[in-house]
C-alpha cells in the first residue's frame, strides 16, 4: 500500500514516454565518479579485444572514417532524469564488431580514467548501440564523455561508458564499476532496475 504524501500534488508534465521513477529534463546533467579525464586525439585509440586476446584498434582518424549513424534517442539516467530526443553521431557496434571473430556473450567497456561497465553483447548489436563522438552536431565535450563514448540508450545511462577506450569481449559476465558498487547488473529503465536487488 503506497504511502500518500500530504500536500504533494506534483508538477506533472505530460510525459507518457517516461520510464517509472524518471522525470524529464531539458538540461544535460552529468554523472561520473571522479574528475573528467582529458584525452588528446593524437593519443586516443579505440580497441576491441576478444576472449582469445585478438586485438583490433582504431586511431582517431581511422575511427572517424568509419561509416557513421546519426541516431536520435531518449536517454535515462539512474539519478532519475531522462532527456528526450538527443541527437548523436557515432559508429554502430555492428560496424565495429563486423570483422571480429568471437563467441563472447558479454562485453566490458573500459574507459580512460579506469571506469568499467558490463553489458551483454546482444544488447550492443542490431542497431542498439554506438560509439558516439558528436552530440547535437558538435564534437562530444569531455564532461559528456568525449572524445568518444558508448551510447546504449535502452539501458540506464551509466552503461553508456564515457571516455571509451577498450571493448573487452568475454565469455563470462564481469560486473563493472557501479555494478560492484550496489547498482543493478543489467539496468533496464523500463523495469526500473536501478539497484542490485531491483
Amino acid at each position: 500500500m503506497a504511502v500518500i504524501t500530504r500536500g504533494f500534488g506534483g508538477r506533472r508534465r505530460d510525459d507518457t514516454d517516461l520510464p517509472p521513477g524518471q522525470y524529464r529534463t531539458d538540461d544535460f546533467p552529468v554523472l561520473s565518479a571522479g574528475p573528467t579525464p582529458r584525452i588528446s586525439l593524437d593519443d586516443w585509440e579505440l580497441a576491441v579485444v576478444t576472449e582469445t586476446g585478438e586485438r583490433s584498434t582504431w586511431s582517431w582518424a581511422e575511427f572517424t572514417a568509419l561509416p557513421a549513424d546519426e541516431p536520435t534517442v531518449d536517454i535515462h539516467c539512474v539519478t532519475h532524469w531522462s532527456k528526450f530526443g538527443t541527437s548523436w553521431r557515432g559508429v554502430s557496434l555492428d560496424t565495429l564488431l563486423a570483422d571480429v571473430e568471437t563467441a563472447a556473450e558479454y562485453v566490458v567497456a573500459h574507459s580512460y580514467g579506469g571506469y568499467t561497465t558490463n553489458i551483454p553483447i546482444e544488447d550492443l548489436l542490431d542497431g542498439q548501440a554506438w560509439v558516439a563522438y558528436e552530440f547535437d552536431g558538435e564534437p562530444l565535450v569531455p564532461v559528456h564523455g568525449g572524445p568518444a563514448r558508448l551510447l546504449v540508450p535502452h539501458l540506464y545511462f551509466w552503461k553508456s561508458a564515457k571516455w571509451l577506450r577498450t571493448l573487452e569481449l568475454r565469455l563470462d559476465d564481469e560486473p563493472g564499476f557501479w555494478e560492484t558498487a550496489g547498482y543493478h547488473n543489467y539496468g533496464d529503465p523500463w523495469r526500473e532496475q536501478r539497484y542490485r536487488a531491483d
Partner: protein, 246 residues
C-alpha cells in the same frame, strides 16, 4: 579503481517527518524517522518518493547530512526554483507527514569510519550535505572548504564554526564566497578558480582523499583544479547534484 560493495535496504520504506530545521531562507533539514534504519556510511544518499493522492509519484535523490545512526536520518534540501520536489520538502512538509525512502545508496562517494587517511572535502552550495555527514562522523583529519554565494547562503554555519574550533583539531573549515563576502573578509568574493583554490586550499597530503560535491559545473571545475595541483585522479571522488553550473 577500488571497488566497494555496499549493502543497502533497497525496498521502499515509509519515513515520517519528525521535525524540520531551517538552515537558511531557502534550505532546510528534514529529520526523518525510519523504522529499522540501521545507519549509513557518510557520503551516501537516499532516494525519496512522494506520492500524490491520485497515485502520481516523483523521485529524487538526497544525500544524508546526519552522522550515521539508527532509526533516524537527516537530509538537507535547497529549494530549486520551479522544482517539483525540493519546494515541497523545504516549504510544505511538516512533522507527521509521510513519504517513502530507500537506501542508503551509493558505494563510491563514501568515507568509511575506519579509513585513517586525511580527507579534503570541497562543497559548493547544498553539496555540503554529504560532506556534513563526514564532518559529523570524523575520526581522522578532515578539512572542509565550503563555497557559497554569500554567508547567508551557507548551511550549518554555527555547527561548522564549532567543529572547526574544537580542541582536538580534527576538523578544519574554510569558507569562500563567490558573490558577497562578509564585511572585513580578507579575500574578496570570487569564483573558485585555480588561483583562488591555491590560496585557500591546504597543502596536499600525500595520502589524502578528496570528496567534491555540488552542482555539476562546480564539481567539474574543482576536480580539474585538484588534478592540476597534483592530486591523484583515483583519489578524487565526486558527487554531482544538478544540471546547472554553479
Amino acid at each position: 579503481m577500488a571497488r566497494a560493495a555496499v549493502p543497502g535496504r533497497l525496498t521502499w520504506q515509509s519515513a515520517t517527518v519528525a521535525a524540520t530545521r531551517a538552515e537558511t531562507a531557502t534550505a532546510r533539514t528534514l529529520i526523518l524517522d525510519v523504522d529499522g534504519w540501521t545507519g549509513h556510511l557518510p557520503g551516501q544518499h537516499i532516494d525519496v518518493r512522494l506520492t500524490a493522492p491520485d497515485g502520481y509519484t516523483a523521485q529524487r535523490s538526497y544525500s544524508i547530512s546526519s552522522a550515521p545512526g539508527p532509526d533516524r536520518l537527516e537530509v538537507t534540501v535547497q529549494v530549486v526554483t520551479d522544482g517539483e520536489v525540493s519546494p515541497y520538502l523545504v516549504e510544505v512538509a511538516e512533522p507527521g507527514d509521510q513519504l517513502e525512502i530507500r537506501g542508503p545508496l551509493g558505494g563510491w562517494f563514501v568515507r568509511r569510519p575506519a579509513d585513517p587517511r586525511p580527507a579534503l572535502l570541497i562543497g559548493g552550495g547544498s553539496g555540503v550535505a554529504p560532506l556534513m555527514s563526514m564532518v559529523r562522523a570524523a575520526t581522522s583529519p578532515t578539512r572542509l572548504l565550503y563555497s557559497t554565494r554569500s554567508p547567508s547562503d551557507a548551511l550549518f554555519t554555527a555547527e561548522l564554526a564549532t567543529a572547526g574550533a574544537a580542541a582536538d583539531g580534527l576538523v578544519a573549515v574554510r569558507h569562500v564566497y563567490t558573490r558577497v563576502a562578509p564585511a572585513g573578509s580578507p579575500v574578496p568574493p570570487r569564483r573558485l578558480d585555480a588561483d583562488a583554490l591555491a590560496r585557500v586550499v591546504w597543502p596536499r597530503d600525500a595520502d589524502s582523499v578528496a570528496f567534491v560535491c555540488g552542482p555539476t559545473g562546480f564539481v567539474e571545475t574543482v576536480a580539474d583544479l585538484l588534478v592540476g595541483v597534483g592530486h591523484d585522479p583515483a583519489n578524487i571522488r565526486a558527487e554531482r547534484f544538478g544540471p546547472t553550473g554553479g
